[in-house]
C-alpha cells in the first residue's frame, strides 16, 4: 500500500531542476507512474518524495532536426506509436513500444520512465540502443549528452546524478536500415521480457550477387545486468566477407555467448542465452535483408 510520501508538482522544467538541486530526501520522478508506483507498493519506504513531471510540456515534445529525431522524456508510448516518422524509419522501436504492457499502460507510461527505471528487461531500451540513441541529462547548471548504452550501470542503476533529469532521447536518422525487435515472455502479451533482441541493419548487394553488411547494431535485453549490445556478433557480421545463412548462424551463436543471463522465476540462464541467438536469427529473417 502507498503511504507516507509527498508529491511535488513543478510546472516547468526549470522549476524541476531547481527542486532536484536542493532536495535532500530520496525522491523519484513520477511520469506515468507505472514503474514507480509498483515499486513503492512493494517497498513502501523506498521513496519519500515523488516529483510529478507528467504535466511538463517541455518534456512531451517530439522534434525533427537535420540528422536526428528528438523525443522528450515525457513522451508516452502511445504517442510514439501514432507518429509516422517512427513508423516509417524505426520499425524496431515501434515493435518494442507496441509490446509494452497493455493499451492502458501505453496510454500513460513514457519512454523516459522506461529508461529511468533502468530495468535490463526494459523493452524500449533495447530498441533504442539498437539505434545508437543518446540521451540528454540536465541539471540546473549542466547539460550533458551521453550514449544510452553508457547510462546504465546495473539493474535499476544509472549514472544519473541526484540533481539530474533525463530531458531528451536523441535518435540519429537512419537511411537504408532495416530494423526489428522481438521478445519472449511468459505469455503473448502484458508480460515482462524473458529475453529480447533488437536489430538495426544495413546491407548491400555486391555486383557478384553476394551480400555485405554495411552496418549492424544488435541489442539484447534481460540477459545481463543491463541491456547490452552484442558487439562480438556485430563485429563478426561487419567483417564477414559473405553475409549468408552460415554467417548468420555463426553470429547467432556469438550473440548467445555474449549474453550473461541469470536464472530467476521467469526463466533459466541456459535458455535465455540460447534464445538470444534464436531471436537474432528470427529478426534477421524478419527484416528480410536479402530482398
Amino acid at each position: 500500500m502507498l503511504r507516507n510520501f509527498k508529491v511535488l508538482t513543478p510546472s516547468s522544467l526549470n522549476e524541476t531542476l531547481y527542486i532536484i538541486n536542493n532536495i535532500e530526501q530520496p525522491y523519484r520522478f513520477l511520469c506515468g507512474g507505472t514503474d514507480v508506483l509498483v515499486r513503492m507498493k512493494d517497498n513502501p519506504g523506498f521513496v519519500k518524495v515523488l516529483i510529478d513531471i507528467s504535466k511538463i510540456s517541455e518534456l512531451a515534445k517530439i522534434e525533427e532536426h537535420k540528422s536526428t529525431f528528438v523525443i522528450g522524456a515525457g513522451v508516452r508510448h502511445e504517442t510514439i506509436l501514432g507518429c509516422s516518422h517512427f513508423i516509417d524509419n524505426y520499425n524496431g522501436l515501434i515493435e518494442a513500444v507496441a509490446a509494452i504492457g497493455s493499451p492502458q499502460i501505453r496510454a500513460i507510461a513514457t519512454l523516459g520512465g522506461n529508461i529511468g527505471n533502468a530495468s535490463p528487461a526494459g523493452d524500449s531500451i533495447a530498441a533504442l540502443m539498437a539505434f545508437d540513441a543518446e540521451i540528454e541529462l540536465r541539471s540546473i547548471d549542466s547539460n550533458r549528452i551521453i550514449r544510452l548504452e553508457d547510462f546504465f550501470t546495473g539493474p535499476g542503476k544509472t549514472v544519473l546524478k541526484n540533481n539530474e533529469i533525463i530531458t531528451k532521447i536523441i535518435l540519429p536518422k537512419f537511411e537504408g536500415y532495416k530494423s526489428g525487435w522481438k521478445r519472449l515472455g511468459q505469455r503473448r502479451a502484458l508480460t515482462i521480457s524473458k529475453v529480447s533482441a533488437a536489430l538495426a541493419i544495413s546491407v548491400s548487394k555486391r555486383p557478384n550477387g553476394s551480400f555485405k553488411v554495411n552496418d549492424i547494431k544488435i541489442a539484447l535485453g534481460a540477459v545481463a545486468p543491463t541491456v547490452i549490445r552484442a558487439r562480438g556478433a556485430e563485429k563478426f557480421l561487419l567483417e564477414t566477407p559473405n553475409f549468408n545463412r552460415a554467417a548468420i548462424e555463426q553470429a547467432c551463436v556469438l550473440a548467445s555467448k555474449e549474453a550473461r543471463p541469470i536464472t530467476d522465476v521467469r526463466s533459466n540462464a541456459e535458455y535465455r542465452s540460447e534464445m538470444c541467438g534464436v531471436l537474432l536469427g528470427d529478426l534477421i529473417e524478419r527484416v528480410n535483408v536479402f530482398e
Binding site: M1, L2, R3, N4, D42, P44, L184, Q186, R187, R188, A189, L190, T191, I192, V265, R266, S267, N268, Y271, E274, M275, V278, G281, D282
Partner: protein, 777 residues
C-alpha cells in the same frame, strides 16, 4: 437430443441473459470492499516469516504505539477456541508457539486506516527459533522430520479392486510405467479474499466474499465463542472463487469477527494480492507413479497408482479433496484390477485445498498421459482405445460402482472426434510435421473424464440444500438459496429453474444473496453442485407454491388442473391460449384470499454406500462426462506452445442455459490452459517467490484458444429437469488433452506440469540428439 415433450419448457434450456450482468458492467454491484460502516476499522494479518519454527516472543509494543492502531491480537486474545480446521482439528486460527508455513497468520492488527494497519503489521516484532522444514512429499513421507507430532500422513485412501495386482500385470500384454509431477495452481480470483464483521444484536454479522457462508458461520461462532444463532453471514457479490473461497474465507472472517467482537467496532479485512498469493490455499502439487497393464486387444487390465499429494502444513480440505482423487485416478474406464494409494502428506508449505476439479486434474493428467503413451506405442486410435475401455450403463468403475443411468461418455468421445474434425486435422498435421522447413510442430491431444456429482460418500452429511421463495402480491418473486453466485451464473440458472416451475418470467424474480438467517444450512457452493442442489431445493418450494397458484387459476378459469398450462407469467387454457390469467393476478388473488405464497424448499443428495477401507462402492450417485480435443502448435526453436483450438464435448445432463454452459467451458479452458503451459508457482526453501501478477502469470485473451463446446444431454433422474454439474468438468480434461497434444507434437511425453517453453525446448533438443545419434548408428 431433445424430444418434443422436453421442448415444452419455456425458460429451461434457453439462452437467458445473466440476471446479474448489468450490475457487474455498470459497476453498481457491491463487493465486500465497496461496503463501509461508520467507525469501521481496517485489519491486517501478521504472517510468519519462516516455514517452520517456534515463536519465542511476540512484541506488540512498537505496533501499538503507532497512531491509529486499535488492537493487535494474538492467539492469547481469542475469546472462543483457537481452532479453524474445517474437517480435522489441526489448525489454529492464530499460530500459537509454533509456525508451520511461511505466511501462517500469527497476529491480527486493527487500525483506523488501511495504511496504519499495514504499517503496524510490519511493526509487530516476532522472534523465532527456526526448525528444520519439510519441503517436499518424499521427505515428508520418510518422516525424518515431523510437521505435526502425530506424523506426516494427512490421509491415505486405498482402492483395491479385482485380484492380485502383480499377477494381473503378469497377464498383461504390455505394461507401462511412468512417474509424473505437477505444480501448484493458484485460483487467482479477480477479487481477493475479503470480509467485514460487525457487532449486531449482541451477535456478529459478517459480510464477505464466500463460497460457503455456512462454513463461515461455524468458524466465527467457534472463534468468537458464540452460538450459531448469534452469527449471521450475509453474502456480498463475489468476484470469483474456483474453490479458493470454500473453507479459506472462514479463516479471515473469524479473525475479523474476533477483532469486531473485542473492539465492538466494524472491522474490514481485505487481503492484498501478494498476501493472498502467499497464504491462501492452492491446488495440491502431486507426485504420481503410474503403472498400467494392457491386453493385446487394447483393454486396460491392471492399474497401479501411488499418488503423493502435498497437503501443506494443515489438513484443511485435503481429506475430502484427496478422496475425490481416489475415485478419479483411473479415469472413466472399466479396469478389472486396480491397486491405488492416494496419500496426503504434511509439509511446511502453504496448505492446499479445494480448486475446481478437486484433486482430479492432476491424476487425470497422469492417467490420460499413460493412455497417450499406450496408444502411441501400440498403435491404437486414441478415441477407439478410450471407447473400448469406457464406462457405460451396467459397467463398473474402478470403485466397482455400477453405472445405472445418465452416462453419455461414449457419445462425448464420438462427438469430440467429429466436431474437432480430428481425422482430417491429424492428416494435415502429419504432413505439416514432416515438412522440416516449418518452424512449428503441430499436435492433437485427447482426454476423457468423468466427475462424481455433489459431495459423495465422504461428504454426504453436508449434502443438502434449502431455499426460500416468496411471491409478493404484485407477482414479483423473491428467492433465497444457500449456495452462492460467485460469477458462475448460479443466479441466472436458478432463476430459470424457479421461473419454469412457478410459471412466472425470469424478470419477475429477485435474488436475495445468501443470508444464513433466511435459509437453512445448504452446505458449500462447491463440487459443481449448485444447479442440482439449490435447483432441486427451489423446485421443492416452487412446486408447493405452484399448487396454490394452480388452485387459484382453476377458480378463475373454471378449468381443471390438467387443462391449464403455466408459462411466461400466464396460466392459460391448454386448448385456447387466449383464455388466461396472469401470474400477477393470481398472486393478488391468493393474497386477498389469505393464501400464503411463501415457502421453504429442501433437498438432500441421494444416499450412497461406500467402503472406505478398499475404496469400493458408490462414491457418488451419478457422474458428468466429457471428452476434449486440443490442437497445439509448438515452436521448434523456442519451445513456446500455443493452444490453437479446443473442442470440448460435455455430458452434463440437461443444459439449463446453453449460453452459460458454453461460457463455463470457455472459462474452464482458459484456466486449464494456464495450468498446463504457463502458471508456475515458484517456491524456494518454503517461500513462494511468485507473489505478484507479473511473475505468477495467467493467460490473457491473446493466449486464448478457440473453444468449440458441444453437449451431450444424457439426463439424470435426480437433477432438476435432468441437469448435472459442469463447473469443474469444464476444466478437468483441459490439462491432459493439452499436454498430450504437446507431447504428440514434440514426440515425447511430458512428465511435469506446467509444460513451460524452457522444458519443451530442452526436450526437443534431447530428441534431436537422440535422433542424430540413431542416424549415426
Amino acid at each position: 437430443m431433445l424430444t418434443k415433450k422436453q421442448n415444452l419448457y419455456s425458460v429451461v434450456g434457453k439462452k437467458v441473459n445473466r440476471v446479474d450482468a448489468l450490475e457487474k458492467i455498470d459497476g453498481s454491484a457491491r463487493y465486500v470492499d465497496d461496503l463501509a460502516f461508520e467507525d469501521m476499522l481496517f485489519a491486517k494479518m501478521v504472517c510468519s516469516a519462516i516455514p517452520s519454527g517456534r515463536i519465542k516472543k511476540i512484541d506488540k509494543s512498537r505496533a501499538l504505539k503507532l497512531k491509529g492502531v486499535a488492537a493487535v491480537l494474538t492467539a492469547a486474545d481469542i475469546t472462543g477456541l483457537n481452532k479453524i480446521g474445517c474437517v480435522v482439528d489441526d489448525q489454529p486460527l492464530l499460530a500459537d508457539k509454533i509456525v508451520r508455513f511461511a505466511g501462517e497468520p500469527i497476529a491480527i492488527v486493527a487500525a483506523e486506516t488501511r495504511e496504519a494497519a499495514e504499517e503496524a503489521a510490519g511493526l509487530v516484532d516476532i522472534e523465532y527459533e527456526p526448525l528444520e522444514a519439510v519441503l517436499n512429499v518424499d521427505d515428508s513421507f520418510c518422516e525424518k522430520v515431523k510437521v505435526h507430532p502425530k506424523g506426516n500422513t494427512v490421509c491415505h485412501y486405498k482402492v483395491r479392486k479385482g485380484g492380485d495386482i502383480d499377477e494381473a500385470f503378469s497377464k498383461s500384454f504390455k505394461v507401462y510405467e511412468k512417474t509424473f509431477t505437477i505444480n501448484y495452481q493458484e485460483h487467482l480470483y479477480l477479487e481477493t479474499q475479503g470480509c467485514l464483521a460487525l457487532v449486531e444484536n449482541e451477535g456478529i454479522t459478517v459480510h464477505g466474499s464466500f463460497q460457503c457462508p455456512f462454513y463461515v458461520q461455524g468458524a466465527v461462532a467457534t472463534a468468537v465463542g458464540l452460538p450459531l444463532s448469534k452469527v449471521r453471514v450475509i453474502q456480498s457479490v463475489v468476484g470469483g472463487g474456483f474453490g479458493g473461497k470454500e473453507d479459506v474465507p472462514s479463516e479471515y472472517a473469524a479473525k475479523a469477527a474476533l477483532l469486531a467482537f473485542v473492539l465492538k467496532r466494524p472491522v474490514k479485512l481485505i487481503l492484498d494480492r501478494a498476501q493472498d498469493l502467499m497464504v491462501s490455499s492452492k491446488r495440491h502439487p502431486m507426485k504420481m507413479e503410474y503403472k498400467v497393464g494392457v491386453t493385446k486387444k487394447g483393454k486396460i487390465n491392471a492399474l497401479k497408482v501411488r499418488a503423493l499429494a502435498d497437503s501443506g502444513a494443515y489438513t484443511t480440505l485435503s481429506t475430502v479433496v484427496l478422496f475425490r482423487t481416489s475415485v478419479h485416478f483411473g479415469g472413466p474406464y472399466v479396469i478389472p484390477n486396480v491397486c491405488g494409494d492416494v496419500i496426503g502428506l504434511y509439509t511446511n508449505r502453504v496448505p492446499c485445498g479445494a480448486y475446481r476439479g478437486f484433486g482430479t486434474p492432476q491424476v487425470i493428467y497422469a492417467m490420460e498421459s499413460m493412455i497417450n503413451i499406450i496408444c502411441n506405442d501400440m498403435g491404437f486410435d486414441p478415441f477407439e482405445f478410450r471407447k473400448n475401455n469406457a464406462l457405460k450403463k451396467g459397467a463398473l468403475s474402478i470403485n466397482s460402482h455400477k453405472i445405472k443411468e445418465s452416462c453419455g461418455l461414449i457419445e462425448t468421445i464420438d462427438k469430440a472426434r467429429k466436431e474437432s474434425d480430428y481425422d482430417k486435422r491429424k492428416k494435415e498435421f502429419d504432413r505439416w510435421n514432416a515438412d522440416e522447413s516449418k518452424r512449428t510442430l503441430k499436435g492433437l491431444g485427447v482426454s476423457s473424464i468423468f466427475y462424481g456429482m455433489n459431495l459423495g460418500a465422504k461428504g454426504w452429511f453436508f449434502d443438502k440444500a434449502g431455499s426460500h421463495i416468496q411471491i409478493c402480491r404484485d407477482g414479483s418473486v423473491t428467492l433465497c438459496v444457500g449456495n452462492v453466485e460467485m460469477g458462475q451464473g448460479a443466479k441466472t440458472v436458478l432463476a430459470q429453474i424457479a421461473a419454469e416451475a412457478l410459471g412466472c418470467q425470469v424478470g419477475d424474480i429477485n435474488f436475495t444473496n445468501v443470508d444464513t438467517n433466511i435459509v437453512p444450512d445448504s452446505g458449500p457452493t462447491v463440487a459443481s453442485r449448485t444447479t442440482v442442489m439449490s435447483g432441486n431445493a427451489l423446485l421443492d418450494a416452487a412446486n408447493k407454491l405452484r399448487k396454490k397458484l394452480m388452485n387459484a387459476a382453476v377458480e378463475v378459469l373454471k378449468l381443471k388442473v390438467n387443462q391449464i398450462m403455466a408459462k411466461h407469467g400466464k396460466f392459460y387454457n391448454i386448448k385456447d391460449s387466449h383464455q388466461f390469467v396472469t401470474f400477477a393476478d393470481l398472486a393478488k388473488k391468493c393474497y386477498f384470499d389469505n393464501v400464503s405464497l411463501s415457502d421453504m424448499g429442501y433437498y438432500v443428495s441421494p444416499k450412497v454406500e461406500y467402503d472406505m477401507q478398499n475404496g469400493q462402492g458408490e462414491p457418488y450417485y451419478v457422474y458428468s462426462y466429457a471428452t476434449a480435443v486440443s490442437e497445439v502448435e509448438v515452436d521448434k526453436k523456442t519451445g513456446e506452445v500455443h493452444v490453437n483450438k479446443m473442442t470440448c464435448a460435455h455430458d452434463v445432463g440437461r443444459v439449463i442455459n446453453p449460453m452459460l454452459a458454453s461460457a463455463q467451458i470457455e472459462g474452464g479452458v482458459a484456466q486449464g490452459v494456464g495450468y498446463a503451459i504457463m502458471e508456475n508457482m515458484v517456491s524456494e526453501k518454503g517461500h513462494i517467490k511468485t507473489l505478484g501478477l507479473s511473475t505468477y502469470v495467467i493467460p490473457t485473451t491473446r493466449d486464448f484458444a478457440e473453444v468449440k463446446s458441444v453437449f451431450v444431454e444424457d439426463k439424470s433422474k435426480d437433477g432438476p429437469y435432468g441437469a448435472k454439474g459442469l463447473g469443474e468438468p469444464s476444466l478437468m480434461p483441459v490439462v491432459a488433452s493439452v499436454v498430450n497434444a504437446i507431447s504428440n507434437a514434440a514426440g515425447c511425453q511430458f512428465d511435469h506440469v506446467p509444460v513451460l517453453p524452457e522444458r519443451v525446448w530442452e526436450a526437443l533438443n534431447e530428441k534431436k540428439m537422440r535422433d542424430d545419434e540413431s542416424e549415426v548408428r
